[in-house]
């Protein structure tokens, strides 16, 4: 479903930084992939290229058979909005908007109308066990609740692949367990997961474990 061939990402930052080197990777539907590695090894770079948030310097990357590297902004934006979902360590919830409105932003640029967006957002928050916090400002939510709102935002549009960069990085162990349980459930219901983590407990959740060393990806 996701297929990388000879993909690399080099940052031109004075000295070139080879953050991702000549990588061949396939992710099949339903996979639960976890990515580990030391700080600065290139995990986020790999995830961003996978998620089409970043463009590879070389190589070919196809999503469902469509070449993305040459497809242009509009294609990558459409795939990000309609096929992918994202969860970040820093949540990236908008202050001044309710939890429900934050989830709706995940659907804003997709194909659905206003009514349908509200309905999907409500359902997603419901699945995250947050029906009672829908009107709350994220600034008044706990860390765990915030991340569940962020996951609701990522999955409300029923994406096929969910990309998570350190989804439990800002959470204590109880909230980490809650989030991991939610991710497991999403994977069981068919969602493909690609999760970057440096937490061994999170990494061991994955059915497929990748390790990154200085931009080189190794299957474990």
């Amino acid at each position: 479903m996701l297929r990388m061939r000879g993909v690399s990402r080099t940052y031109q930052d004075g000295e070139p930084v080879y953050a991702l080197r000549d990588t061949d990777l396939d992710v099949a539907a339903g996979d639960y992939v976890t990515i580990t590695g030391r700080s600065g090894s290139g995990k986020s770079t790999l995830l961003n290229v996978f998620g089409l948030l970043d463009v590879p310097s070389t190589g070919s990357y196809t999503v469902g058979g469509v070449e993305t590297a040459t497809g242009g902004q509009a294609l990558r934006g459409a795939i990000r909005g309609q096929v992918f979902g994202f969860v970040f360590q820093a949540f990236h919830l908008l202050p001044g908007r309710t939890a429900l409105e934050n989830v709706e932003i995940g659907l804003l640029y997709g194909p659905h109308g206003r009514r349908r967006r509200r309905q999907l957002a409500t359902e997603a928050l419901d699945r995250m066990g947050l029906s009672h916090r829908m009107a709350a400002d994220p600034r008044r939510l706990s860390g765990g609740e915030r991340q569940r709102v962020a996951i609701a935002r990522a999955v409300a549009g029923e994406p096929r692949v969910l990309f998570c960069d350190e989804p439990t990085g800002n959470l204590d162990s109880d909230n980490t367990d809650t989030v991991l349980a939610l991710l497991r459930k999403l994977n069981t219901s068919g969602l493909t997961l690609v999760v970057v983590t440096h937490d061994e407990a999170v990494a061991s959740e994955g059915g497929r474990r990748l390790q990154v060393h200085d931009g080189v990806v190794i299957e474990r």
């Binding site: 539907a29 934006g77 459409a78 096929v83 935002r153 068919g190």
Partner: protein
């Protein structure tokens, strides 16, 4: 990219749609961003509010003052006409009573009378002081001409038609002349060319013909008898308000129908032209001030918008991650700064109108505020907001999503 495209995922094909612009959604997003962050919004528009307020207040006060100034101009200066002979004209028939009564019959003439201005003459308290006496300009004026000049008497009264007809030797002293001669009451005599004149009154100020301010005034018949080669006779006319221009055109014909071109009538500038002059000078300076105020407002909204948008890179990155396109980001931000400009303009206009009214009422003026300046301030503020948002919005739309999402 085409409007739709398919990606084959293992569970089946997904129809991809290029994220389209939905204006209603954009408006909702922009207004939520503005309304849910009142602090940030206020910081952005404070300059615009002040700019628009200054614009409306300066224009409002400008036109209000203008109205004041021109009504002051209208009341006195615009009711005076003076008729003089052209150089070389010797005939005096236009100064005769029949000519003057023709003039007085004109519609719009309030008073009209003869006057002659003589050169400075020494005036003394006693006959023997004549050699060292101070000199004053002597004005001969019949009672009607005195009424046109309208001296403000502090002592005594003005001579009457009987005294004019009989060339009674009487004088009115201006306050400076009375002071020099140490005269404080009517009834005393002064001497001019060894002849005694009774002081009938002392005046402080004149409404018209300021040359009378430091002079002495005597009956026209008395002054002409003094036989002065420099004497320049003229006719002074007080007109009804607004009639000066018309009377100045008709007076020469009324006074000298056989040769009206021999006479030259001068009226103060047309009050309407005068008002236009004042108006345009007031307007020019206020427009400059207002334009500067609005410019400052624009620059400040630009600065604040740049700072406000820079603080939102995370949000912008997120919007890009969930499928937002560059143009969505750009248009939303432009709508936001435009809405903020409109809002700031409206608040500013309100404050400007308030300021104009408060200042006017405190000074007893009638506030005059043009609707057009209020509308212009709102329109300019809106456009200024959009222009101010142009650079930061363009910049924000260019930020790659990865960069925006780095914490």
């Amino acid at each position: 990219m085409r409007r739709t495209r398919h990606v084959d995922l293992d569970q089946g094909r997904i129809r991809l749609r290029i994220p389209r612009l939905r204006w209603a959604d954009l408006f909702v997003e922009a207004s939520l961003s503005v309304l849910r962050h009142p602090g940030r919004s206020l910081a952005t528009v404070i300059g615009t509010i002040l700019g628009a307020a200054a614009f409306v207040a300066s224009l409002g006060l400008g036109t209000t003052l203008n109205q004041q100034v021109s009504s002051a101009f209208d009341s006195r200066r615009a009711t005076e006409v003076m008729v003089q002979p052209e150089t070389g004209v010797t005939s005096a028939s236009w100064l005769e009573e029949t000519a003057l009564s023709r003039l007085r019959r004109l519609n719009g003439v309030v008073h009209a009378g003869r006057r002659t201005v003589l050169s400075d003459r020494p005036i003394a308290r006693t006959v023997d002081q004549a050699a060292t006496a101070p000199s004053f300009p002597v004005i001969g004026a019949d009672p009607a001409a005195v009424r046109v000049m309208a001296p403000e008497l502090t002592v005594g009264r003005v001579y009457d038609d009987f005294q004019e007809r009989h060339a009674t030797p009487v004088v009115l002293l201006s306050e400076p002349a009375a002071r020099r001669l140490s005269i404080t009451r009517a009834g005393v005599a002064v001497f001019l060319d060894d002849r005694a004149y009774t002081v009938m009154g002392i005046y402080r100020d004149v409404a018209r013909r300021p040359e009378a301010m430091a002079a002495v005034i005597m009956p026209y018949a008395v002054a002409t008898a003094l036989s002065d080669s420099t004497a320049a006779p003229d006719v002074l006319i007080e007109t009804a308000p607004g009639a000066a221009q018309l009377i100045s055109r008709q007076a020469p014909l009324a006074l000298r129908p056989e040769a009206p071109a021999d006479l030259r009538a001068t009226a103060p500038p047309d009050p309407r032209t005068l008002r236009d002059d004042v108006e345009s000078s007031v307007t020019e300076s206020t427009v400059m001030i207002s334009a500067a105020a609005l410019l400052i407002g624009t620059v400040s909204i630009g600065n604040a918008a740049t700072a406000g948008i820079a603080a939102r890179t995370g949000e912008i990155g997120l919007r890009r991650a969930v499928g937002g396109r560059r143009r969505h980001i750009f248009l939303q931000l432009i709508l936001e700064t435009g809405a903020l400009g409109a809002l700031g303009g409206t608040i500013g206009v309100f404050l400007g109108v308030l300021a104009t009214c408060v200042v006017s009422l405190a000074n007893g003026w009638t506030p005059v505020i043009g609707i057009s300046s209020a509308l212009a301030a709102c329109a300019v503020s809106t456009v200024a907001g959009m222009l101010a948002g142009l650079i930061p919005a363009t910049r924000a739309a260019r930020i790659p999503p990865v960069q925006a999402l780095q914490r």
